[in-house]
């Protein structure tokens, strides 16, 4: 089983590489040739190999490398396998979806090139979570960043796409720079993970570098600014992969580094807990204020990464105070949320892509009434919305439930962890309520009511290739919610990689019972809904069921533009939190007795981008302009610079 897992994994890497190579051959047809099929097949195989390894045990293998520092060393332990499953499964479904999606974007040549980068992206994500040496990890990490950058730049003729792509490129490289320093600190010769190990003060430095560097990829506030730019710019299947699984490699990185560092200190847990709480709350607040569907979803990724980090933070606090129950519940809840978020967020991004193609816009306030025009997209988007709002009996509730349980266990202990429990409970409660507000807005304004523009009212359902992956993911939201009591064996191998020796890797008995209760009552809920549907059908049998207009207080000429808009729906809540959000409203009041025009514009820029990063980079540009005299644009100068640099190195070596 172990051998076959390794063999299948290597085969999947090979298929993905072949897919990338094949994509380079230009094709005439739309959609982009066979690259997508090999991407779907290769990643599907990788998911299967990881599931085999979760139950059959891990493996480890290295090959010599001619590059100095280490070898090609890859391995699959519980933690790697746990991350490979969602990465590969979501990539596979997104490839199927992307094939249908790119067909409608036209230009087979460009699509074919994008499948090259798509295959490379999956390949590099798999390598990132399975690399066992620092250099291989960094190479894979860089490959992942670059391939996703080129995927984001699909519509490179658009100015905003280029800007988004560059923001992403700069952010990800700043993160990588921190990681480079971190690995140099960790290195004890050969850059092998197995030899990494630190204690004391430098361990703290490494931990902070890991949170900042990996947090940039994951999208933790305040390093999140690239997410709301890059996700709307990318094609939807790419957003689904980037937001659903690629940002999770940041979470993986933090967890992997923790395994090098020995017993965690309490303030590490506090750092993660508070960063998670801030990311969760601000993420959902900014999401609520957005007018663009994909920007809204991008901020929700920030929120969910926050929830995951909140769970991990409570787990690590549990570890450092020696409480097995809190450690298992917090870490387990965080890990489970990694999978759950991968499922519903990729579903929602696919839904957004489907809507964008049908309606020709991502502006929420232009849409409306899409559920009747696109029942499959709408129905699956509803499932995703309920799941991301953490509502029972869907999967989002189960992972949040575990993190809540960690918080309550901390409160009941009345020990030093009580404040941590209170922070976790209060922020999860606030996040839950606001997420409900945000997704009733998104689903309600986009899919319900009447179309607000002519273009939207002509929308049609998307192709089968796009619908089927969404249906599968919506089904997964339901299945993972109802199968809660049986999910723990999937988590256990990953947890045992994180927990030190001597910690029992099992859910506390009461929590196992609670999960049964949650799933059982979820089943009862569905049963009751069915009973009530039949009850109403029975009552209405033979009675008059008519259709009429919506009640409009007797007004005789209502039109779709009189409907409540997403902006007005969210405004009271946004205004309540204006201290953090700083929404901008430009009002042009009607004037005079016969006003001719009036206008209201509102938008909510990212305070971190506007208030911190933009001034910072303007300053950097001013500083850099002092060196402009060196850049004359003439080749022989640059040759001189290279020669001088080489000379300096030579002198340094001879010293």
């Amino acid at each position: 089983m172990v051998l076959s897992s390794m063999f299948l994994f290597l085969a999947s890497l090979f298929i993905l590489a072949a897919g990338a190579a094949l994509s380079l051959i230009p094709v005439s047809g739309k959609g982009g040739g066979h690259g997508s099929i090999l991407a779907a097949a290769g990643s599907g195989l990788a998911a299967f190999s990881a599931i085999l390894s979760l139950f059959g045990g891990g493996w480890d293998r290295s090959w010599p490398w001619s590059i100095p520092m280490g070898s090609i060393h890859i391995g699959m332990d519980g933690l790697s396998a746990f991350f490979v499953v969602p990465i590969a499964a979501i990539s596979s479904l997104a490839a199927v979806y992307g094939r249908g999606y790119l067909k409608e974007e036209g230009d087979g040549r460009r699509a074919s090139g994008s499948w090259f980068f798509y295959n490379i992206l999956i390949l590099s994500m798999l390598l990132v979570v399975c690399a066992r040496s620092g250099l291989l990890f960094l190479v894979a990490w860089e490959l992942m960043s670059l391939s996703s950058f080129f995927l984001v730049m699909f519509h490179r003729e658009k100015e905003e796409v280029v800007r988004a792509g560059l923001t992403y490129l700069v952010a990800t490289h700043l993160g990588t720079a921190l990681l480079l320093v971190m690995f140099l600190l960790l290195d004890r010769g050969g850059m092998e993970f197995s030899r990494f190990g630190l204690e004391g003060g430098s361990a703290a430095v490494v931990f902070v570098l890991a949170v900042a560097g990996f947090g940039t990829k994951a999208g933790l506030i305040p390093m999140h600014v690239w997410l709301p730019e890059a996700h709307p710019a990318a094609p939807s299947h790419v957003s689904a992969v980037m937001s659903g699984v690629m940002i999770k490699t940041g979470i993986y990185g933090i967890l992997r580094v923790l395994t090098f560092l020995g017993p965690p200190l309490p303030w590490w847990g506090w750092l993660l807990l508070l960063t998670g709480a801030v990311s969760g709350i601000l993420g959902v607040l900014f999401a609520l204020a957005q007018h663009d569907l994909k920007r809204l979803l991008a901020y929700h990724s920030v929120e969910n990464i926050g929830i995951i980090t909140l769970g991990l933070g409570s787990g690590i606090l549990g570890l450092s105070f020696g409480s097995t129950a809190i450690a298992v519940l917090g870490l387990g809840g965080g890990l489970l949320h990694v999978v759950n978020h991968a499922v519903f967020k990729s579903l929602l991004f696919m839904g957004a892509g489907s809507v964008a193609h049908a309606a020709g816009t991502l502006k929420i306030d232009r849409m409306g009434g899409l559920l009747r025009r696109m029942p499959m997209t709408g129905g699956t988007f509803l499932a995703g919305s309920a799941a991301i709002s953490g509502l029972p009996p869907l999967n989002g509730f189960v992972s949040e439930f575990l993190i809540f349980c960690a918080g309550f266990t901390a409160v009941v202990s009345r020990g030093p962890l009580l404040p941590a429990g209170a922070v976790a409970i209060a922020s999860l409660a606030l996040i839950g309520g606001l997420a409900s507000a945000c997704f009733t807005k998104a689903f309600g304004i986009i899919f319900l009511g009447e179309p607000r523009t002519q273009r939207v009212s002509g929308s049609r359902e998307s192709s089968k290739a796009m619908v089927v992956p969404m249906v599968i993911l919506a089904g997964l939201c339901m299945v993972l919610g109802l199968a809660a009591p049986w999910l723990f064996p999937f988590l256990a191998p990953a947890l045992s990689a994180l927990l030190p020796e001597g910690f029992a890797v099992e859910l506390p008995g009461w929590a196992a019972e609670s999960l049964q209760g949650v799933a059982g009552l979820g089943g009862v809920l569905i049963f009751l809904v069915l009973v009530l549907v039949l009850f109403r059908a029975f009552l209405l049998k033979g009675r008059g069921v008519r259709r009429s207009d919506t009640w409009g207080c007797g007004y005789l000429a209502p039109n779709p533009r009189m409907q409540y808009t997403a902006s007005s729906y969210a405004w009271p809540t946004v205004n309540m939190f204006r201290m953090f959000l700083r929404p901008v409203r430009v009002v042009e009041d009607p004037e005079g007795f016969l006003p001719a025009s009036a206008a209201l514009k509102s938008h909510t820029p990212d305070v971190f981008l506007e208030g911190f990063y933009v001034p910072l980079f303007l300053w950097v540009r001013r500083a850099a302009s002092l060196l402009r005299w060196m850049h004359q644009g003439q080749t022989h100068y640059y040759v001189l610079y290279i020669a001088l640099t080489a000379l300096v190195f030579l002198a340094w070596r001879l010293w």
């Binding site: 309920a386 309520g433 609670s514 409907q563």
Partner: protein, 304 residues
Amino acid sequence: MEMPWSALPVLVAFVASPFLLSIINRTKAFFGGRKGRPLLQPYHDIAKLLKKGAVYSRTATPVFRFGPIVGLAAVCCALALTPMGGPGSMVSFEGDVILFAYLFALMRFAAVLAALDTGSSFEGMGASREVQFSALTEVAFLLGISAMAGLTHKISLSGMLGIPVASDGPSGVTVRTLVAAAFFIVLLAENSRIPVDDPETHLELTMIHEVMVLDHGGVDLGLIEFAGCLKLWIMSAVFLGTVLPVRFGNPLGDTALIAAGIGGIAVLIGIVESTMARLRLLVVPQLLVGAGIMSLLGLIVVLG
């Protein structure tokens, strides 16, 4: 716990919850010097609605029809988790409070989507207020629950609301008072009562809950009304469990006492509604945040 006795509170709630509306109405009538409606009027209203046909908006989709049904199903599940003194609850497990809170969130989610499904701007406005306020009540409720959990060392509703007061320790009274105050505000807000919402207002622009169900009629409205009664009953039972945790050990006596206590809370709601006006919508968040802070204070007292 034997099954037959634990089913008793559920049955009592089904039968008696609409009566709470009568009690509130009679209390308000007493303050207003009126006679009030017949005591069984809420039952007649629901029965009449269930006998009617249906008119659906041309804009509405199946989401609109699922709203009331999901709401009632969720509130029934929450009822199964609600303890009433001695008999405990029908279903109980550690952490069921979280499911309890999120079942109400599900109910709200369904109601809000059903409201938005009509495309009416009135209903959009009501839904917008509903989600704004509920985000704050949810925090107040869960913080209050965690204060109770810290006080009683239990994280199931049956555990934390059924323990005799004597085992609280010195901080018990303070914590219970603070949490009870917070829960009372949550109770009023969640059940769209004055000072947050007025169930009897007649102007669409000022409504919250009522305007969301403006387009529901007949059987659907009947289900919504009944779910509303059950919700009021459940929240009252939880509030009562906080201030007055009783356990005679005799299921019949316990249930009767709790039912009487819930009736008393209905009187209290009636008094509040008779003696004060609605708060301005802009002030409501302050009240709800205040409830959250009281819950938080309760938690701090537990720690101290």
